[in-house]
């Protein structure tokens, strides 16, 4: 069996409000092989976003280890973690989180500004990513000129443009109608099957979860 791309070992996470401990994740262990498409389901407040944030390196576990591509990300400094994220993580959010003042093209280009690529090379990557999500003709549009589904497709292009190790999607269809949901799901499926992207997706929607190969459930901070 090949080495898993993600290894979560006995991870617990608590938040502290004043001196009150709010336990969110209890002793989670999880292994995800390369090129897998995993859906994480569970009621709201069960800790799904928290787990995704830990994998993205934007939050720290209270205890346990997180290895992504063999690297223990809990040991990285703030600055190194930012660089690591830019190289390894592509994130998709429920509300797309595009920069309203930037065009689709410029939004997708953002992660590439952290690389050494030339302007010309960046253009090639951005155009490829936007054509994969079927928006090559909308490059000059601003987010407010796009539908919700189109905005999320731009966000997906932004998530994959730098060819990250992991794509993390937090309820990517949570704010979309059925038709757009199907579009987004087929796009993620294609990224997984055709381009071999490892995808971890949080969702409430059983319909969306069907696109995934593995479905895991999180309830009250426990994985089943």
């Amino acid at each position: 069996m090949p080495e898993p791309i993600v290894q979560v070992e006995n991870v617990s996470k608590s938040y502290y409000r004043d001196s009150l401990e709010i336990p969110v994740l209890h002793d989670i262990s999880l292994e995800i092989p390369r090129a897998e498409f995993l859906a994480l389901m569970g009621p709201s407040g069960s800790g799904k976003t928290t787990l995704l944030n830990l994998l993205a390196g934007i939050d720290q576990p209270t205890s346990g280890h997180l290895l992504v591509a063999g690297k223990d990300i809990a040991s990285l400094s703030d600055g190194d973690l930012a660089k690591w994220r830019s190289e390894n993580i592509g994130m998709v959010f429920q509300f797309y989180n595009l920069m309203p003042v930037l065009t689709a093209y410029e939004n997708v280009e953002l992660p590439l500004l952290l690389t050494k690529l030339s302007r010309k090379e960046r253009r090639k990557h951005v155009e490829t990513a936007l054509s994969i999500v079927g928006l090559a003709d909308r490059m000059k549009h601003y987010p407010r000129q796009l539908s919700g589904g189109q905005e999320q497709r731009v966000a997906i292009a932004r998530a994959v443009v730098s060819d990250p190790t992991l794509v993390l999607a937090d309820e990517p269809t949570g704010d979309l109608d059925r038709k757009s949901t199907d579009e987004i799901m087929s796009m993620l499926s294609r990224l997984n099957s055709e381009f071999g992207k490892t995808i971890i997706m949080v969702t409430h929607d059983p319909r969306a979860a069907k696109a995934a190969h593995i479905v895991r459930h999180l309830d009250k901070g426990e994985l089943s």
Partner: protein, 387 residues
Amino acid sequence: MIPVSYTVRNIINHKITSALTILGVSLVVFVFAAVLMMSTGLRETLVATGSDDNAIVIRQASLTEVQSIIPRDQADIVKTSPEIAVATDGLPLFTKEIYVLITLLNRHDGDKANVVVRGVSDKSLELRPNATLVEGRMWREGTSEIIAGKSIAERFAGCGLGETVRFGARDWTVVGILDAGGSGFDSELWGDIDQMMDAFRRPVYSSLTFRLADPSSFVALRDRIEDDPRLPLEVKREKEYYADQSRSTAGFVSILGTVVSIVFACAAIVGAMITMFAAVANRTREIGTLRALGFSRLSILNAFLLEAMLIALAGGILGIAAAATLSFVRISMTNWDTFSELAFNFQLTPGIVLRAILFAVVMGFIGGVLPAVRASMKRIVDSLRAV
């Protein structure tokens, strides 16, 4: 780095808040630049009054002609100095003058102001290449005729061409108008020195002015005169003499203006800070997203600091543009170094533009630094949860 277009378009997108901040900064910069333009105008006007190759002699330790007294015998000794150039008539290009302050009434509002009356000789005009007679004619020897600098002619009752003005217990008729190119002589009345000494009952001169045949001989001449025990006199280059006359007034205007500007600047900085804190709060989720994409804390800090500084820069440019229109304004105020009215223009120089712009950008930096630090210190997970 976060693209500059992100910063610029955010400024443009928030038109009203940006415009208010820009306006605040531009007002401060306007005041700051106006004051600098005023003190520069004052100084330049006085500096322009002096010529490079002229020297002026006044009594030792008297800062200006007002306090200076030079007896006739001392004046005659100085006149024989070999360094003095020769005029077209073969005589030394040298003049003894008296300098008296009188009070006149403003033609328009009746306000009193001090005006300089200068008793001059036939060489006085030749010694001042920047001054020319533009209307009427020169005064005639032995008469109560005067010529008026053009600022005085416009502003004081009885000083226009053909008018009569009373001082020194006599009526004087204005027969000519002097244009001294915006320099200090535009604010003086000139008449025959003998008539003036008579009218004011002054047996002594105020100053001696002469052209040097060779400007490099100045030091030797000065040292000789100042070392001569018979001559308790001081020799200065004319240009330096007039530059010194602007020192306390220009300095005072600068200091007052700087204090006022700093007080105003504090208000503008607070305004910029409020604008930037609001910008940071409104864009919390964008900040979280950028950080999640891998942008560092430093790049967030830079983006917001740049935004504050660009807004301030726009305010600076607007303020300078408004101040530039003052270049066409000529004002008149009392020069406290000489206690007399002096008319001058606000003067914009590249140095003032640079200082005003720098002042604006520094305001932006100070106003932007706290909000930018706050933006960069936010925790990503908290930012992403913001709506």
